[in-house]
Every structure is written in structure tokens, then in C-alpha cells.
């Protein structure tokens, strides 16, 4: 798994639960204290062990932890760069949703060896959208659920989301868009460092 993903998990634990908890997780998998390097590559099994460690330390269901990671990624000040990159996807939540199909390619443009799950947005015509999240690795569905929930807030849209797990590495998120401009949302300007 790419260091960026591992590093994101590490930062999530550190920024949300504190350094001590992260040290506990790291010790449990014999990772040295500085943890993951964002620009290196790690064995997939290590990511699973780290996640397993977090799940048992926090005593929370795995899907809930993964969703929290998704929320963290687009809401914590330390991950602001990522929120900004996603906001480039569209001027409103609908456009953002439609930009998700391109997300893996966009990510690869910035970091050529970063593999994200394949995302496909389907439009049912009955006002319900669904986003297919597929990957060789299981667990991206709940993460995307957290990302979508938080990005909807970021855009000020009111949505209902529902995750269905269809098989290993195969999830669908049902999206009912109630209102695109429900609340103010957070600001976004094209110029970095201005919000």
C-alpha cells in the first residue's frame, strides 16, 4: 500500500487520539516510532496489521474507524491540502460527485504510483445516485462514505448516504441529494492559502 495511504492512517490516529495511542499501534506492529513515510511503499499486510491494531485499541467496529478516517481526510486542518484538491473537482456538490470518476487518474497525475479505488458514479434518473467503489483491497467503501459525508457539508449540500457492501473490495454508496445549497458550506478560493 502506498505510503500516502499508510501515512494518512497514522496522521488520523495521531491527530484524533494523540501520539500515545499511535505509539501503541506502532509498537504492536513493530513499526519504528516515526512511522510511515508518505513517499515510500509498504507491504499491504502491514496496513492490515495497523488497521487491526487501531480497531482493537479503540474498540470500535472496523467500518466505523474507516469512515472516521474518510472524515478526517477532508476535515482536519492537517489534511487541508487534500480537501482543496478535492474541491477543485467541482463548484458544487453535484459537480464534485461527477468528478469522482476521474479521481484515480487525477491522483496518479500528482503521484504516479498512487493507486486509488476505481470510482464510478451512476445516475438512476429516480433522483438517487450511486457510487461504486471497487478495489483489490477491501475497506475503501467506508472511507469514501466518510469523505462524501464531509464533502457534502463542505459544499453546504444536504444528502443522505447509505453504504452497501457487496463483496470484498466492492461497495456501493447510495446518495440521495436533498438540497445542493442547504447551508453556507466552507469557503474555497482558487488561490492556495486563502481558504
Amino acid at each position: 500500500m502506498h505510503g500516502l495511504i499508510n501515512r494518512a492512517i497514522q496522521c488520523f490516529v495521531r491527530d484524533t487520539y494523540g501520539e500515545e495511542i499511535w505509539m501503541d499501534v506502532a509498537r504492536g506492529v513493530a513499526l519504528d516510532a516515526s512511522g510511515f513515510e508518505a513517499m515510500l511503499f509498504y507491504d499491504d499486510a502491514l496496513t492490515d496489521q495497523v488497521l487491526g491494531g487501531i480497531v482493537s485499541l479503540l474498540n470500535k467496529p472496523r467500518d466505523e474507524v474507516l469512515e472516521d478516517i474518510g472524515t478526517y481526510l477532508v476535515s482536519h486542518p492537517n489534511a487541508e491540502a487534500l480537501r482543496r484538491l478535492l474541491r477543485f473537482g467541482g463548484v458544487d456538490f453535484m459537480e464534485f460527485l461527477h468528478s469522482l470518476d476521474d479521481l484515480p487518474d487525477r491522483a496518479r497525475m500528482a503521484v504516479s504510483d498512487l493507486e486509488l479505488p476505481r470510482l464510478e458514479l451512476h445516475d438512476d434518473r429516480d433522483s438517487c445516485l450511486h457510487l461504486h467503489v471497487r478495489s483489490d483491497r477491501d475497506g475503501f467503501g467506508p472511507v469514501m462514505l466518510g469523505v462524501l459525508r464531509t464533502m457534502a457539508d463542505d459544499y453546504g449540500a444536504l444528502v443522505f448516504l447509505d453504504l452497501r457492501h457487496r463483496g470484498p473490495g466492492d461497495d456501493v454508496i447510495y446518495i440521495a441529494l436533498v438540497e445542493t445549497a442547504f447551508a453556507e458550506g466552507r469557503s474555497f478560493t482558487l488561490s492556495a492559502g486563502k481558504g
Binding site: 508518505a38 491540502a81 484538491l85 500528482a110 503521484v111 478560493t189 482558487l190 488561490s191
Partner: protein, 323 residues
Amino acid sequence: MEQVSEAAIRGLMDVLCPMYAMLDANGVIRHAGPTLCKLRPQRRLAGLPLLDVFDLTRPRLSRFSQLVECPGEKLHLQFADDPKTALKGVLMPCGPVTILNLSFGISVLDSIRDYDLTNADFAATDMMIEMLYLIEAKSAAMEASRKLNMRLQGAKIAAEEQAFTDTLTGLKNRRAMDHILARLIGAGQAFALMHLDLDFFKAVNDTMGHAAGDHVLQRVARIMVEEVRKDDTVARVGGDEFVLILTGIQKRETLSRIASRLIARLEKPIHYGGQDCRVSASLGIVLSVDYDPPVARDMLEDADEALYSSKRQGRARHSFHVE
């Protein structure tokens, strides 16, 4: 095809390339596109001569009549007033009017900040938003790589330092000494090399234990560092063997004085665990100026020989290889 109205052209241009000026035959702005207007919010551009608003920097023309002679050519302009944002442009006649289409050059990042531009200020087909995305994404990735490089460099320096340091005493080790000798010889710098061997150290180790021995070595190391200048080198090259490299000293009297003072200080009892440890030192000294050319191995061998001659003469003394 029927005549297209000016209003239709405006409508088209406002959407397809919103940063433009529509000019009349005299080069007066009839209409400015919405994004161009945003660059000068305090000023009504319509009605002003183009060349009052902009300076043409390439080609350097000052009259509009010259400018209309080069349709389709790439133009470089900048605002005549502050902020003097530089723009690229291309001019094309269109029926009775002339269209000057504009775009930001490489200064686009500053412009977006200065004028607070948004997605809506760029045509839907404009690649600018993708470009901004890429700039941010690449900068973030570059920053992550840069941090990794810095951490790796820090680790490398620490590892190198460790590789060149004797862990017990903090002195340089043999490997570091080899490097320093090679560097001095390579640079043709004159230096003296002292090979120092502790006397009676084995007795301390045997009778008082290794902890006492280690303490003595650390104390001895500190004395040697104190007795030489900052740029000189003290290396531990064996259990109780040391090499001192003193640069720029060629006088035997000076070296003799240093050696005697060193021995005198090393002979002072070293307290450890309520007991006094007593050692002394024998030295062999060589000078690089006695060699042509100096060779590290020869110098070390000769210093060693001089050291053993000190030992043979009864220890606690120094000898020069070439008296």
C-alpha cells in the same frame, strides 16, 4: 450566412473566452468581457482607447493602426496602471469590430490571488482549473518528497557521524583518521602525527575491572581533546592506542612541549569507585615534512616504531622517528 450582430458576438465571447476586449476601428474599447472587467473593477474600460489601458511590450508598437496590421499574432501586453499584470493576447478583426482575446501568462497564480478569481471567471473548457489543481497536487507531493529527503539526509549524517566516531570515548575512530590523513596529504598540508599508547592501562583493567578501564579511557580522551586545538584530530585507533594529528606544527620543540604536557596530565591519578587509577603514556611522533611525498601508511608505521622506542626507553616519554 446572415450578418451576425455585435450583441451575438458579445454573447458568444462572454462564454467562450470571457477575458477579451471588443474594439472599434480606432482601437477604442466598445465592450470588455466579464473577466477583463474583473481585473479593473474600479474602472469603466468601455470608451477608453486600448493603448491607454495597456502597454504593448511585444511587438513594441505604440499606435493601434500598426497593431491591426498583425492579426493572429501573439501579443504581450501589460496594464499601464498598477498592478501592471502581464497578459498574452491575440487580435482578430470580426466584421466592423476587432476582438482582442487575452489570457494570463505564467503569472496566472499571482493574478488569481490579486484579483480573487473563481472557476466562473474561466471558460468551462479552459484548462486553467486543471492546471491549478496540478500545481497544488504536485507541490504537495514535492513537499512530501522534500521532507522525506531531509529526514533521510539527517539519518545519513547521523549514520556517518556514528561510522566515524568511537562510541566509548566520542573520539574519531580509525576510519575517520584515515580520511583526515588522506585529506591533509591530498591538500599538501604540513602536519605532525603522534601515536600514543597508554602505559599501565592493562593493569587498571585487570585489577579494577573493565568499568574502571572504560572510565579511564573516557577521561584520557577528554584530556587529549583539551590539550590540542579545536581543528586538530584525536582518534582512538585501538584498545588503548590513540593517534593525534596536529596541523601546521613543524617545530620539534613545540611538539615535545605538547607531548610532555600531555604525559604530565595523563599521569595524574584518575578517581574511580573510591580508588585512584594511574596510567601514563608513551608517544611516537612523525612530521609530514620529513616525507617526500608523505604516505599515510609509512607515517603510521614510523610513528609506531618511534612509540616502541619510547616504551623500550622506559615508557612515559616521547620519541621522534627522525630526531
